[in-house]
Amino acid sequence: MNAKVSRTCFTLATLSVTMLLMGATLLAQASEADKTFRPIQPGNELLQEKLPATPLVFSAYAVVWIVVVVYVLTLWRRIAKAELEITRIATRIEGRP
C-alpha cells in the first residue's frame, strides 16, 4: 500500500515538473520587448534598480540551509529505520531453533 502511494506521488511529481517545464518553455518565447526598444517613462525607473538585494541574499542562504537540513534529516531517518530493521531481524534469527 505504501509503495503504491509512494509510486503515485512520484508519478504526480514527475508529471508536475514536466508540465512546469512545458509552461516555462512557452513563456520563454520571444516577447514584444525582444522586437523593439521603448524609451523609459518618467518616474518609472527600472525594476532592477528598485529591487532590494537583502531579502534576496537572505532567501538564497536560507534555501541552502533548508535543503541541506531536510536532506540530512531524511538520511538520518532512513539510516535509523534500516538499523532498527537489522536489529529486529537479528533477534528473529537468534531466536530460531
Binding site: 538520511l75 539510516i79 534469527i93
Partner: protein
C-alpha cells in the same frame, strides 16, 4: 567502514565550525562593483555548483567501475553521489535564479549554463527514479544513466565559453584565485578567501554526507542478506 564511521563526526564538527565562522569571513569581502550586495550569494552558490559538477563526474567514474567490475561498493558510492547531485542541483537551481533576479532582471533565462545544469539535474533525477522503481537489475541501467550524466559535466562547465551567455566566463574563478598570489585587489583577491573557505566547508560536509549515504546502502544490503537467511 569503521574508519568512515570515525571520520563522519570529525568532518561534521570541522565543517560546522567553518560554517559558524563563514558569515564573519564573507563579511570581510568587498561588494562587487556592478552587482553590490546580491553578489554575496556567490559564496554559497558557486561552491555548491562546483561540487555538483565534481559529484556528477565522480558518480560517472563509480558507475563505470560498477559496469566493468560489478563491485557493489562502487554502486553504493555512485548512488550516494547521484543523490547528492540532485540535492546540490536543487540548491544551485534555486539560488541561481534568486541572484539572477537582481543581477540580470529575470528569474530564469534559457541560456546554455542554466539549461545544461537543468538537464544534468533531470538526468540524475532519472537515475534516482530508476533506482527506486526499476526493480531487479536496475542498478546496471542506472550506472549507464550515471555515466551519461557525468559526460554532461564538462559540457555544463564549458558552455559559458562556447556560447554567448549571461553567465560569467570560467576565467573568473582562476583569475580570482591567481590574484591572491599577486595581491591584486582589482582582480578580486579579497573575494577569493571567503570563497575558498566556504568551498572547503561544503566539501568536508558533503564528504560526511556521502559516507553516511554509503553506510545506509551498506546497511540495506546487510538487511537483504539477513532476510534471505531468515527465509532459508
Amino acid at each position: 567502514m569503521t574508519a568512515g564511521r570515525r571520520l563522519v563526526p570529525v568532518l561534521l564538527v570541522v565543517s560546522a565550525a567553518m560554517f559558524a565562522a563563514a558569515p564573519f569571513i564573507i563579511d570581510t569581502a568587498p561588494y562587487e562593483s556592478t552587482m553590490g550586495l546580491v553578489q554575496r550569494i556567490f559564496y554559497f552558490h558557486v561552491p555548491n555548483a562546483i561540487l555538483m559538477m565534481l559529484a556528477s563526474s565522480a558518480c560517472g567514474v563509480a558507475s563505470l567501475v560498477y559496469l566493468m567490475r560489478r563491485r557493489q561498493s562502487a554502486d553504493f558510492v555512485a548512488l550516494a553521489l547521484a543523490e547528492l547531485v540532485v540535492v546540490l542541483g536543487v540548491i544551485v537551481l534555486i539560488t541561481g535564479p534568486i541572484w539572477a533576479r537582481k543581477a540580470w532582471g529575470v528569474w530564469w533565462d534559457w541560456e546554455p549554463r542554466l539549461t545544461s545544469t537543468l538537464i544534468m539535474w533531470m538526468v540524475f533525477s532519472a537515475y534516482l527514479l530508476l533506482r527506486r522503481f526499476g526493480g531487479a537489475g536496475s542498478e546496471v541501467m542506472a550506472a549507464a544513466v550515471g555515466l551519461f550524466g557525468a559526460v554532461l559535466s564538462p559540457f555544463v562547465y564549458w558552455s559559458v565559453n562556447m556560447w554567448r551567455t549571461l553567465h560569467p566566463k570560467t576565467s573568473v574563478l582562476p583569475n580570482m584565485v591567481a590574484a591572491i598570489a599577486t595581491g591584486d585587489v582589482e582582480s578580486g583577491s579579497t573575494m577569493a578567501g571567503p570563497l575558498i573557505w566556504c568551498f572547503v566547508a561544503f566539501t568536508l560536509f558533503y564528504i560526511a554526507v556521502i559516507l553516511l549515504r554509503v553506510r545506509l546502502e551498506s546497511t540495506r544490503a546487510t538487511l537483504e542478506r539477513a532476510v534471505l537467511l531468515l527465509e532459508d
